[in-house]
């Protein structure tokens, strides 16, 4: 079985890439295949990349406050492209109320400031127990 492949992406206009880079490195160290798209990706670009790379997971990062628009837009784009088997998770400055709302809209998990890296890895392990890594 091939390792779980994860697209990590910065959506929206902000360039704060500290978090996304730290997470990308930690996931890679944990044995996942990680592809970082770089900055300022539109929802369409992220889904394109996920389909092209045959990724099972998309991890989104945002720090500008546009998460309520852009995270659901990625989920919608996956629906449009009939690729809802791809799991979406996200991270950034996201207030608790928004976390609940985003989960309802199909973002499976959200990690907010102060989350230990291990917690993200543990979540992925639980979510993809079958795949090797």
């Amino acid at each position: 079985m091939r390792p779980v492949r994860i697209i990590v992406a910065k959506v929206g206009l902000d360039g704060h890439d500290r978090g996304v880079k730290v997470v990308a490195r930690a996931l890679r160290d944990a044995g996942y295949e990680v592809i970082y798209t770089g900055l300022r990706q539109t929802p369409e670009m992220v889904v394109d990349a996920a389909l092209q790379e045959d990724a099972q997971v998309i991890g989104l990062s945002i720090h500008s406050g546009a998460h309520m628009t852009l995270f659901p837009a990625v989920v919608q784009e996956l629906k449009r492209r009939k690729a809802t088997d791809i799991v979406v998770f996200g991270g950034g400055i996201i207030p608790d109320d928004d976390v609940a709302a985003l989960k309802k809209q199909g973002v499976e998990q959200l990690f907010t400031p102060g989350t230990p890296l291990q917690e993200i890895v543990d979540w992925l392990r639980k979510r993809f127990p079958e795949e090797s890594r």
Partner: protein
């Protein structure tokens, strides 16, 4: 006497070594990893003549009177939603004793695009105020006399445009540009290095920076033309020494570029300003600020041959560290911010922004913004720390740490020079990798509990009590879009398109672009239209993503 002193030190050392040490596994180095001794003594003091504030190399401060002459400017960075809303917040802050304005723009404004651009969706008014044209800028400063206050504007790629809008609003208020005071961040190099809000490639980006510096030297002489920023470098994860070194290296790159343009150093250097982070490691930060002044003074006098004292003096703004704040038990952020602000004051800052406790979650509420401002007032008026100039000067520890900061910065300057300078180093991802490595290292230390963040990896609570946060009304997005479209409808479109044509031609040549941008702004060309005109000539930059 001397013999006895040595005996005492020896005795202390033996006592120290025979005492049990804490075994909590927490690092005793600074947060940046500089190893610390348990005790500093006269043996650690540098051998050099006594230094005084207001005298070269200004380790002890640039003013002979310190804060006895004038307190630092309390300048809270603020902006959200629309120009009307932010105008109300400014009046509230000024009524509460704030002494200068500092404008936070939203992401579309920072990235040079209008509110009705497709990629502005979801971003409008969220992390700052939306400014599309001169019309919004008029609203932003409505009822605030620009001749009486100073304003800082945090904007980089489109900095020249926003400065022109400010000049144009001042003109309308009857305030001549020659009397305007304030600061434009205008520091594109740290965008390539850390914050990543670049648009044009490095060369035309630098041209715009130099254009604005050159223009202001003649037309807006009291304006700080650039705020060379370490803040974003640090927040992106660098160490204190990297922040210091990369920022000063950027400063020298701007000096080189202005000299290359044909400017005389003393004509622009006095208006260069700096912006640093005040992180949680108290003494390291104070040492960083002191070292920054000393290094800059030496380079300006000795390497660049500046003659005027004002060219040697490094003036800086400080903001407390956003990254040090925690979403967990957020009230603790008030205490963190107070410690960081104290470091900035003891380091001799010229102006200060204190973060509000809820900034880790959203933009601050009125209440949290006031607490943050009050924290500065507490330091200034209640604590007594402003009564003595450079009160830590002469401390064995602080002086040794200041020297260490200087040594580490100089060693980075050599590495950057070996790479061919700042821009080639950016293109080689040197800074980006250094910062990503430091950020990852720090995160590992947190995971291993070798560093503690209260409420995050220790002293946690099971039930977090939610605090009230500021919400941006989603309706404002459509309001702002309607507003920019109305501006386009109502303006003299012939004048506007002539101005943009003139700008395009000038951009393809070598004229200073400021007068062309000013004309476009006066004709109510939008920010996005001006930027797109420049993009046609300059192109856009994409970075190579490094993890």
């Amino acid at each position: 006497m001397k013999v006895r002193a040595r005996d005492s030190k020896q005795a202390w050392l033996e006592d120290f070594e025979s005492s049990p040490a804490r075994d909590d596994g927490i690092e005793t180095s600074t947060i940046s990893g500089i190893p610390l001794k348990p005790l500093y003594t006269t043996d650690d003091l540098p051998r050099r003549p006594e230094e005084f504030p207001g005298q070269f190399p200004y380790t002890r401060g640039i003013h002979p009177s310190g804060y006895r002459g004038r307190l630092w400017t309390m300048r809270q960075f603020s902006g959200f939603a629309t120009a009307e809303e932010t105008n109300r917040r400014y009046k509230y802050l000024l009524a509460n004793g704030q002494t200068g304005l500092s404008v936070a723009f939203d992401m579309p404004t920072l990235m040079g695009q209008d509110s009705d651009a497709p990629t502005s969706r979801g971003e409008i008014g969220h992390c700052g105020v939306a400014i599309d044209s001169l019309a919004d800028m008029e609203t932003l400063f409505d009822g605030i006399p620009l001749g009486d206050i100073t304003t800082s504007m945090t904007i980089n790629s489109p900095a020249a445009i926003l400065l022109c809008m400010y000049i144009a609003v001042a003109e309308e208020q009857g305030v001549p540009a020659s009397t305007l005071g304030g600061t434009l961040q205008n520091d594109i190099l740290k965008e390539f290095i850390a914050q990543k809000e670049f648009i044009f490639p490095p060369a035309p980006s630098m041209r715009l920076v130099v254009d604005s510096i050159e223009y202001c030297a003649k037309e807006v002489p009291q304006w700080n033309t650039i705020s060379i920023s370490g803040y974003h470098i640090r927040e992106a994860g660098s160490t204190a020494a990297q922040e210091l070194a990369f920022t000063l290296a950027d400063g020298m790159a701007y000096v080189d570029a202005c000299i290359e343009r044909g400017m005389r150093i003393d004509d622009f250097a006095p208006r260069l300003s700096f912006f640093f982070d005040a992180h949680i490691d108290f003494f390291e930060e104070i040492a960083k600020f002191r070292a920054a002044r000393r290094i800059w003074a030496r380079w300006m006098r000795e390497r660049y041959g500046a003659q005027q004292e004002r060219s040697w003096k490094l003036r800086f703004h400080t903001q407390t560290a956003g990254v040090s704040l925690t979403a967990q038990q957020p009230e603790l952020n008030i205490a963190r911010t107070a410690i960081e602000a104290l470091a900035a004051v003891l380091g001799g800052t010229q102006s200060l922004h204190t973060n509000a406790m809820d900034e880790v979650l959203a933009l601050p509420t009125d209440k949290s913004a006031r607490i943050a401002l009050r924290t500065q007032q507490l330091l200034a008026y209640e604590s007594g720390v402003a009564n003595t100039i450079d009160p830590l000067g002469g401390s064995y520890f602080i002086e040794a740490l200041t020297d260490e900061m200087e040594r580490q910065a100089e060693s980075y300057f050599k590495r950057i020079e070996a790479l061919g300078g700042v821009i080639p180093a950016i293109e080689a991802s040197f800074f980006q990798k250094e910062i990503a490595d430091a950020a990852f290292q720090y995160q590992q230390e947190l995971e291993q509990k070798r560093r503690i963040m209260i409420g995050v990896n220790d002293f946690t609570v099971d039930e977090e009590v939610p605090i009230e946060i500021l919400r941006i009304d989603p309706k404002l997005e459509s309001q702002q879009i309607a507003r920019v479209r109305e501006v386009r409808r109502k303006r003299d479109n012939a004048r506007c398109s002539n101005a943009l044509t003139g700008l395009r031609k000038a951009a393809a040549g070598s004229d200073n672009l400021m007068p062309y941008i000013l004309e476009a702004v006066r004709a109510y060309a939008t920010e996005g239209e001006i930027m797109n005109t420049l993009i046609e000539v300059f192109g856009i930059y994409t970075e190579q993503a490094v993890v």
